[in-house]
Symmetry: D3
Subunit: 234 residues, 6 copies
């Protein structure tokens, strides 16, 4: 990267001065991002650009395949980012954002592409459920490109399921303090498909309607009351 030097100089000389006060305030007061976005490491998918976010607005966790391992006894970087975002930063929205032409999803569908990459293989185990579902549903109907696309969409849903296994997320959903979003960014069109939990499918957001949500947090009714009344009915 011959021009790394110029690039950071350009940021500091030309870009930073226009936002110096904002940066200074963020340094003093700390960050208060509204959302955590989990997206792919892919260089064509820039979370802050897609969401037109400035400094301090978006807490971002990126890895190959926008994967969220389920909460278990061996957790790592993604689990820590979730825990920190929910418990320390109190984010209100968590977005899992997949994308078209994803190299990780291609590797999941065509294992020979990653046969020299044992870590990538192991990491993609967290997406096996997406591949199993898509194979089950579409095995005989789709050509390879459409299958990769289908797996990519199912992968977003699988990672949302994994998100819910994290205690902090489960508690936030029960308390109605968090919403979960499942997105798919299309590099060719710049459009974002959004999973609509009520309709159970990805939709293109409509201009005049509210943005569909994958999983809406809501204050749940008290189960023991239901239980007690059921018991009392005997």
């Amino acid at each position: 990267m011959p021009d790394l030097h110029q690039r950071i100089a350009s940021f500091r000389g030309n870009v930073f001065p226009r936002q110096a006060a904002l940066y200074r305030r963020l340094a003093q007061d700390g960050q208060q991002p509204q959302a955590l976005m989990i997206s792919c490491a892919d260089s064509r998918v820039m979370p802050e650009t897609i969401t037109q976010s400035g400094p301090g607005e978006l807490f971002v966790c990126r890895n190959a395949g926008n994967i969220v391992p389920p909460f278990s006894n061996m957790n790592g970087g993604v689990s820590s980012a979730i825990e920190y975002a929910v418990m320390a930063l109190k984010v209100h929205d968590i977005i899992v954002c997949g994308h078209s032409e994803c190299g990780a999803m291609k590797g999941l569908c065509c294992p020979h592409l990653i046969e020299e990459m044992p870590n990538v293989q192991a990491w993609l185990r967290h997406s096996h459920a997406a591949r199993s579902v898509a194979t089950q549903l579409y095995a005989n109907e789709l050509d390879q490109d459409d299958m990769i696309c289908a797996v990519t969409l199912e992968n977003v849903l699988v990672q949302l399921d994994h998100l819910r296994t994290h205690p902090s997320v489960a508690a936030g959903l029960a308390a109605g303090e968090i919403n979960l979003h499942g997105w798919f960014f299309d590099i060719k069109t710049g459009g974002v498909l959004v999973y609509d939990g009520a309709k159970e499918r990805f939709v293109e957001p409509e201009a005049d309607a509210p943005l569909p949500v994958a999983v809406t947090g809501r204050s749940r009714a008290c189960m023991p009351v239901a239980l007690t009344s059921a018991m009392a009915a005997e």
Copy 2:
């Protein structure tokens, strides 16, 4: 157990002969259980008795707290039982059955009870989401016994969430071949509360209505079609 000897002799002499033909056929043809039941190791919760099942009818996985670890890179006995039940035995129903007076749930709520038991502590990490949810929802309203009961119910739901992270289960649900059940067995009354996924709460099953189901498998609509149509709209 001074009478272990008599007990197995009694089974062989008095009970087995009445079902010898059935056992012999099951030995020859193999098992074809309709359901997998995941329940607690507790001696007061006997899966075959509660479901009035005979030999060959119920594949049973039991552990402290009827826990299902999420699918991840470090899986063990429960994951193997699920995989075998779904892929080799083609079960149609998976039941997670919690129960009243559960020692594991008490340990989860009162950590001092299990402070000398490091394995139990680690195992119950898979139920932390249940405790987090119940604490969030009921912290100031319930006394300890009711809180343990609430945690026990939430724990059934958390384990159902974990079940869905297993590729074989996710694929079976998508294909409409599996239903998931969330039950709570009350030792004092012999009754079973059943989670109704549509109503989002535990209910007592009604005599004339079909048994409520927690998660109904169904053949899903083809997502790429939705995607394509959304794209075509541009």
Copy 3:
């Protein structure tokens, strides 16, 4: 399972009332089972039926292959069940019960049967020692069915060896408070073969003799005394 509804209703309506007082007492006083039984998830092997046990008598851990992972830094459900049974419930007997026609043991001997089941494969690593021993001893003598049977018996012994690596079991054995049992249930005959630790082989229990035991706990002689006397001899 079309009749799950009827089944639980039948239990509650017809079976439970005859034992309501017992269940109620068990709910109030807690369980005090005499034994922990570790058996296979197989639907044809019902621990309470084989041992003619009623509610409250048998703490039961079931998984594919009646496996007991050795105590290590990554423990799960079986280790927790053992720890809870020994430390909280003070059971006196631990039974590892294998059985004929076991699908897990078949998978261990014929890996192609489970090549699509990565969790089962990994789980059966805990039985590799049984396969290694049987291959060593019988490789050229037994046909496949007998070999599977031999592996199943060796597997019971391997799991007994694993049991002894758990600190709570090791301490209980040293104090003479626990006995370990190795059983093999034959689905075709209803019979139970029992490992006789003294004779070092499986035997059919004899009517008039005490039930053989695999590993008898006993209060051990004090080693440092032996040591001291040895040292003093110099």
Copy 4:
């Protein structure tokens, strides 16, 4: 995030059209980023902004604390991103970028801040070497803020050490195909300090000099030759 809807619409309507051809080409030809940047999930540290990168230029892995676990038998998302970036994308530069006011580094120095966050605690074990070094060097000289700053700088170096344990990185360095960069972004000033491997300290890049590099890859001399000659000398 009430305006998520507007934000993605704004990107698509106002920003994307100006770069539609670039995005389309990147979708067709795939990405060829020059660098992998590993930075913190912090919302105030935007890798593409700091490096003034456009779509397709920067492969980005972000987690709490810009951590790189060492290559081992239990790898996750960061290891996969590295493996994919080096082996599939052939990046030439890997940048580990720490920053001022880092919440993860504060948690590392003040454990009480994260005592309710077990995942964050476990994740920060990968930074313990940084804390050990800083404590060793500066324990009695620095106040808490300076100590956090020192730990943050040492943490960049520790993660560079971890990077070198990854086989793909080790091979790339030996072949002279990769350079490693250690950066520190100061939110208050917009400046980037750069680790100079030759001088063994962080420096501010000078306008007229080349950007200092932490670890320069270079084609290594052939060791067996050295060995042979040494042996021949006998």
Copy 5:
């Protein structure tokens, strides 16, 4: 170590020449050690000196506490050494050798000594069974020094139990090709206490008798035959 230079020069100049032919032959033909010795890293316990072994005679694995983790899904250096020694080198004897004044055993009994050493703590989990047994047996009878000694002896037995869980060892024992030895080296006297499996205690070896063995491998009787005969008896 100011004299490391002289030391290796001294070996090469003064010691090696006297055994040059032996070393050369060992380099050409490979090693064929008769035994694997697993002993502590302690500088006062030198395996080759205690056993008066020359080059090529003893395969040696050393770690803090002469520990053998049980065979499981997460194995490391000791398991690899065992596997290599038994399968590639065909050793006939495996010796686990504990010793007096062992720092690891002191840390096991007095956890405050190692509270700053998280790896040592975790590693010693593999010795918890020894501590549990000794506490159970001697809690009220021994002073601290004797208790450490008792734990050290029990630890040798626990590691022998762990050894048996390794498939290669289990197979070798069943085939009568391996013997297991449990030793205790007393630094003060130079004596070795040997565990006598038949007597179930440590003894001082007697001059005229064969060396006692902890676990004697022997060709086992064929279990399926026993089984068949038992079955035939019906």
Copy 6:
């Protein structure tokens, strides 16, 4: 090993008496070894002989391949030995010693040799970086024997890199209290090649010069000062 009995008797009767006072003092005062040596389990590589060390002088960790896993969340015996040696014993030198004709390195280069040894395979993952580097550098130039030799040398360097990821070692290096040594013992010649960190290659030690060191610990300059001055320059 028919003569194990004689061997330990010979040590006690003939060798120990000449050093009885030294052993007794070491038992009373504890060990204070100057160095930790990490070497292969190979029977032809005897650390105390190569370094002409007596009792109490060398803390020794041995495993197949003289491997040091990097510090991570799953540590074992080697990590514990390092931690204990540095923190409890305050060693000043850590030597990683590879050797010619190493079976582990042969297995790394010729995987078919170890295809029946899953633990050895997994363990050697910690040496994959060495193989990747050697393949990158010498793939087309060396025959197999020379390649194994090259991998063996690179492996020493990789393990030194791993050593530096351990917090205790990193802190010791920063404080100038520890030196790291990379050695290669040639069985055929008895010679030791030593890695010279300054020259970046293995050399034969010269008689009149100080022994070259791989990584020299040194009291590092205070980074925050550098930082502060850089910042002040704005």
